[in-house]
Symmetry: C3
Subunit: 236 residues, 3 copies
C-alpha cells in the first residue's frame, strides 16, 4: 500500500495523512468536559492524534521517535481490530503537550517516520509479518509494551498467528535476548490473528533475533500465498 | 450500499431484509431450554430479531422507533466487530413481546426505519462517519447508551477513530450539550476503529452539535480518500 | 474457497497448508523462555501448531480427530476475530507432545481432515452458516466447548448472528438434545457476528437437530444474498 495523496481540508487541526490510511490531527485546547470523559490528565491542554486503519507496530515506533524529538508525552495507545479485512490492528495514539506547536511537531515527526517503520511489514493474501527494531526504546514503546527505556527493542509479528509462534521460537533461539512480552489472539491483542513477541537486550542480539525471525516468517508466508513484498523499503 | 432484493424463503419466522445486510426475524415461542441459555426473561414468549453485518447506530435508532411504536421491549443489544472489513460494528438486537404479532410489527417498523437511519452514514475507502439525532430518545437508545428517555439524543461516530476524537471536540464546543458517553477502540466498542460520542440536552443544541461534527468529519474523511457520500439520504 | 497450492519453504518445522489459509507447523523443542511466556506445561517438549485465517469450527473438529489418532494433547485453542473481512473467526490451536513425530502426525491428520470439516460451511456475500457433527467427541471439542468426551456432539453456527438465533431455536425444537453452550457477539465469541450453539445427546438426535438447523439457515442466508454453496462437500 502506498501513501495516498490528500487534499488539505482547510481545517486548522489537520496535520497530514500517511500510509496505512493514517491521519494526524491536533487539538489546541481540548474541551474540559471531553477531557474528563477521555480520562486525559488536565495538564495536557493540547493533544496530538495519530490514527490509522492499518498498522499498530509502525505507528508505535513512529510515535517513539516523535516523543524523543519533541516536548510531548504519550497519553494513550489503543489498538482497534482492523487492517481493513487483514489479520491485524489499526491504531489510535494520543500525545499530550502544553503547547499545540509541540503536539503538531510530534504528529509531523510521526507521520514522516511511517514510511520507514512500514519497511519491514511484508504481506500477501494470506497474512503479514512485521519486524521492528530500535537501538534505544523511548516512552511510546515503554507505554505500549512495558519495554525498558534506553535499551534496544525488537518487535516480531506473524499473521496468521501460527507463523508468529515459529518466528518467536526462532528469534529467542538465535540470540541472547530477553522476552518482554508475548501476545496471541486471546491475550495481548484485540483478538487479532497475530502472535507478537517483544524482546530487549544488547542491540546486536536484538537485531540478530529480529532478522532471523524475519527470514523464517517470509518463507512461511510465501509458502502460503506467494510473494510477500515490503510495504515500503526494509530498514532493519 | 443499497438494499438487496430478497426472495422470501418460505419460512414463517422471516420478516424481511434491509440495507447493511440486515435481516429481521421473529420466533413465536422460544424453546424454554434456549430461553434460559440466552438469559431472556421468561415473560417474553415471543422475540423479534434484528441483525446486520453493517451498522449499529442505524439499527439502534431504528429499534428506538420500533419500541416507541409497538408493545415490545428491548431485551439485548449486542455489537459484533464487523462491517465486512470496514471500521465498525454489525448488530444483533432482540425485542421481547408477549404476542408474536407485536414482535413482528416491531421488526417491520425497524426494517423500514433503516433507510432513514443510514442517511447520515457517510463512507469512503478510508472509513466512515455517522450522525444520529432524535428529539426524543426511547428505550433502545437508553439500553444501548444509558441516555435519558424522553430527551433529545445525538450520536457522533468517526472512523478511523482519530477523526472521531476531533468530531467529538467540535461537537461539545459548538453547543451546550451534555456528554452521555465516550467510546474508543479500547473501551465502549468491540475493538472497532471508532470514537463514538453520545450527547443529550436541549433538542436544538443537540442537533447543532451533531451537524457541526458532521461538517468536520466529512472534510477529514474526504481529505483521506476522496468523496464520502451518504449511504442513503441525509435526514438530520 | 479452494486449498491453495503451497511451495515447501524448506523449513523443517513446516508441515503443510490447507483450505482457509491454514498452515501447520511443529517445533521439536520449544525454547524454555518462550515456553514460560506461552504458559505451556513444560512436559510438552514438542508442539504442533495449527493456524488459519478462516475457520474455527472446522479446525476444532479436525483437531479432535487428530487427538483421537495420535499421542498428543490439546494445549490451547484461541479464536481470533478474522475470516478476512467475513463474519467469523480464524484459529490458533496448539498440540503438545513428548516427541516431535507425534506432534507432526497430529498436524498431518488435522490438515487432511479440514477438507471434510469445511464441508458443511456454506457461505455467500451476506454471511455463512456452519454445521459440525461427530458421533463421539474427544478432547479438542471438550477443550473448546466443554462438551462431554465420548458422546455425540453438534455445532450450529449462523452469521449474521440473527440467523444463528433462529437456527438454534429450530435445532432444540427438532430433537431431544442437550444444550452445552450458546455463544453470541457479546459473549462466547471474539466479537464475531455469529450465534453459536453446541449440543450433545443421542447421536441420532444430535444429527437430526444439526440437519434441521442447516435447512433453515441456508434458506435465510440465500434469502439475503443468493446461493450459499458448501466450501467443499457436505459430510453430515
Amino acid at each position: 500500500e502506498k501513501p495516498k495523496a490528500s487534499a488539505n481540508p482547510g481545517i486548522t487541526e489537520f496535520v497530514g495523512t500517511a500510509i496505512g490510511d493514517t491521519i494526524g490531527l491536533v487539538i489546541a485546547n481540548v474541551d474540559p468536559m471531553l477531557h474528563e470523559k477521555m480520562k486525559i490528565d488536565p495538564k495536557y491542554r493540547s493533544i496530538g492524534i495519530l490514527g490509522a486503519r492499518t498498522g499498530a507496530g509502525p505507528h508505535i515506533m513512529a510515535a517513539d521517535e516523535a516523543v524523543k524529538a519533541t516536548n510531548t508525552e504519550i497519553i494513550t495507545i489503543e489498538l482497534p481490530r482492523d487492517t481493513k479485512g487483514g489479520a491485524g490492528h489499526g491504531s489510535l495514539i494520543l500525545f499530550g503537550a502544553e503547547e499545540v506547536s509541540d503536539a503538531r511537531r510530534a504528529i509531523e515527526v510521526a507521520l514522516k517516520e511511517l514510511d520507514r517503520t512500514f519497511g519491514d511489514v511484508y504481506g500477501n493474501d494470506a497474512g503479514h509479518i512485521e519486524l521492528q527494531y530500535t537501538a534505544r526504546a523511548s516512552y511510546a514503546i515503554n507505554k505500549a509494551f512495558g519495554a525498558p527505556v534506553g535499551k534496544a527493542f525488537g518487535l516480531i509479528v506473524g499473521a496468521p498467528a501460527a507463523i508468529g509462534v515459529l518466528m518467536s521460537d526462532v528469534a529467542v533461539k538465535t540470540a541472547n535476548v530477553e522476552v518482554v512480552g508475548y501476545g496471541s489472539p486471546a491475550g495481548g491483542t484485540s483478538y487479532s490473528n497475530e502472535v507478537i513477541l517483544q524482546v530487549t537486550g544488547d542491540s546486536g542480539a536484538v537485531r540478530q533475533a529480529v532478522l532471523a525471525a524475519k527470514e523464517v516468517g517470509i518463507k512461511l508466508l510465501e509458502a502460503m500465498a506467494g510473494p510477500a513484498p515490503s510495504s515500503t523499503k526494509p530498514y532493519i
